[in-house]
Amino acid sequence: MNIVVCVKQVPDTWSERTLRASDNTLDRDAADAVINELDEYAVEEGLRLAEAHGGEVTILSMGPERAAEAIRKALSMGADKAVHLLDDGLAGSDALGTSAAIAQALRRIGFDLVICGSESTDARTGVLPAMLAERLGVPQLTLASKVEIDGDAITVHRLAEYGYDTVAATLPAVLSVVEKINEPRYPSFKGIMAAKKKPVETLGLADLGIDPAQVGAAGAATEVLSFARRPPKQAGTIVTDDGDGGIKAADFLAERKFI
């Protein structure tokens, strides 16, 4: 089975995240960069499925030079090879442009199963997997908390507000996973060393035949007009419980008309 896992490098939630005043895009230099957390679950699921059913796991990532770090992390977990979608013309892409570029890369690579994290911790749009399924004309198996494959039949549990739906389809398909699905492995020392030798192919817009006018900031169908830090919250009232903490809390709720 040919499995492609999409990973994104994102600014670390624990570091200071901000936008650049010059073009209202993410200031990548201001923050530490890590592999998107949910994408680790996607890599893990890809590895488990390949271990169970045979096949190869390819990592696909779109991003600047630095995204190579996220790719190495995924390779050190055990993926076989990677494709880095790297082109200055992709900078500033919105979800539509990103999905167009990634879908084109997926067509080039070929796949039985595409696996994504269900959303990234930076933009948090959560739309990319559905957009990929739409563009590629394959089943959308998103928000999966469990996956089973039998031949070319695939069944997932799709997370819902009330519990889950069971969803069935035939491969090839696009899968997105939620964190409940597994526990990602830590790269072993051996894995980290091996990752350094694994092949990483770099593809640009010209290689994929993507029209530069469709992607990047110029091709984006949306734009950020302005941004501002959320004003700091006014300091609240903090009391120490002297045996009447619950009463004081009730007073506060009453004053705000919650009780």
């Binding site: 559905a130 959308q140 519990g163 950020v224 959320r230």
Partner: protein, 317 residues
């Protein structure tokens, strides 16, 4: 008057609150026309009228429940083609966003997600990075597709006709690739849904065990609240995963958020810091969650919470 197309979120004939929020928002820009996929439109008509819906496009048919997301995107694309709305509003739920994503690909129109407000010309307010930064943005290509965060808009009644217009949409085979074969309903409590609730009571590591979640539930029930949990709690298996609030869980912005035994790691704050009022109970005065608190009690939750419950009961007579 121009139509604003609104995708209804509903379970059968029961309309989700976010639908009323979207209709309320739509009224400011034009005539709200609700796109209703599946059964139940007739029964929901009166409720939709109460919030000022002008029209309800009712697309009956089992396809909308039997296949994942794609049929709803086809319906919206077809309605948008016929009615040429000024904007398409969808619920910012995981499924609503997916419908919007597919619609954006079909049409080439720009999509904005996690929108908490709309200004003139559909300029959108979006909190990003867990609410640390507020962004204004707009769609510059095509008709704006806007996914609105649940609970960001206060639904306000206004008279409407909610005229039902049956629409026949033939769902293509391409939209029937992911078939729903079963529906498993878990933990069907009487509590409001987490992302819809106007009050949320959440527990963190300090709660200590699955059994102690009963205390949190008791407080939630006194306040008519939904129960949430930090990742520490769901990872430990003390409470089901779907109740997790935070970056890898749900984002909530209720009128009141009560954080109990939660330290307030940035991961958690990302899911709740846009709540209007925040109350905190934690024994560690240094816990970062206190920075967000409108009111905080430094103390043992197993003393403070039972006393709070007792006090609420006393006052409600």
């Amino acid at each position: 008057m121009t139509e604003i197309l609104v995708l209804a979120d509903h379970a059968g004939e029961s309309v989700k609150k976010v639908t009323f929020e979207l209709v309320t928002l739509a009224r400011r820009f034009g005539e709200p026309a609700v796109a209703w996929a599946g059964a139940g439109a007739q029964a929901a008509q009166a409720r939709l009228a109460e919030f000022g819906a002008a029209k309800v496009y009712a697309a009956e048919g089992p396809e909308f429940d039997d296949y994942v997301v794609a049929p709803k995107a086809e319906l919206l694309a077809e309605l948008a083609r016929r009615a040429a709305p000024a904007a398409v509003l969808v619920p910012g739920t995981p499924e609503g966003r997916e419908v919007a994503g597919r619609l954006a690909v079909k049409t080439g129109w720009g999509l904005l997600t996690d929108v908490t407000g709309l200004r003139d010309e559909f300029v959108a307010d979006q909190p990003i990075f867990g609410g640390a930064i507020n962004v204004t943005s707009r769609v510059r290509t095509g008709t704006p597709i806007i996914a609105v965060r649940p609970n960001a808009i206060t639904p306000e009644p206004a008279p409407g006709q909610a005229v039902i217009e049956p629409v026949a949409v033939t769902v293509s085979d391409a939209a029937k690739l992911a078939r729903v074969t079963g529906r498993v309903v878990q933990e069907r409590s009487a509590r409001p849904e987490l992302t819809e609730a106007s009050v949320v009571v959440s527990a963190g590591r300090g709660v200590g065990s699955a059994e102690n979640m009963a205390l949190i539930e008791r407080l939630a029930d006194r306040l008519g609240a939904a129960v949430g949990a930090s990742r520490a709690v769901t990872d430990a298996g003390w409470y089901p995963h779907q109740f997790q609030v935070g970056q890898t869980g749900k984002t909530v912005s209720p009128q009141l958020y009560v954080a109990i035994g939660i330290s307030g790691a940035i991961q958690h704050r990302a899911g709740m810091q846009t709540s209007k009022t925040i109350m905190v109970v934690n024994k560690d005065p240094e816990a970062p969650i206190f920075e967000l608190a409108d009111f905080g009690v430094v103390g043992d939750l197993f003393k403070v919470v039972p006393q709070l419950i007792e006090e609420i009961e006393k006052r409600s007579g």
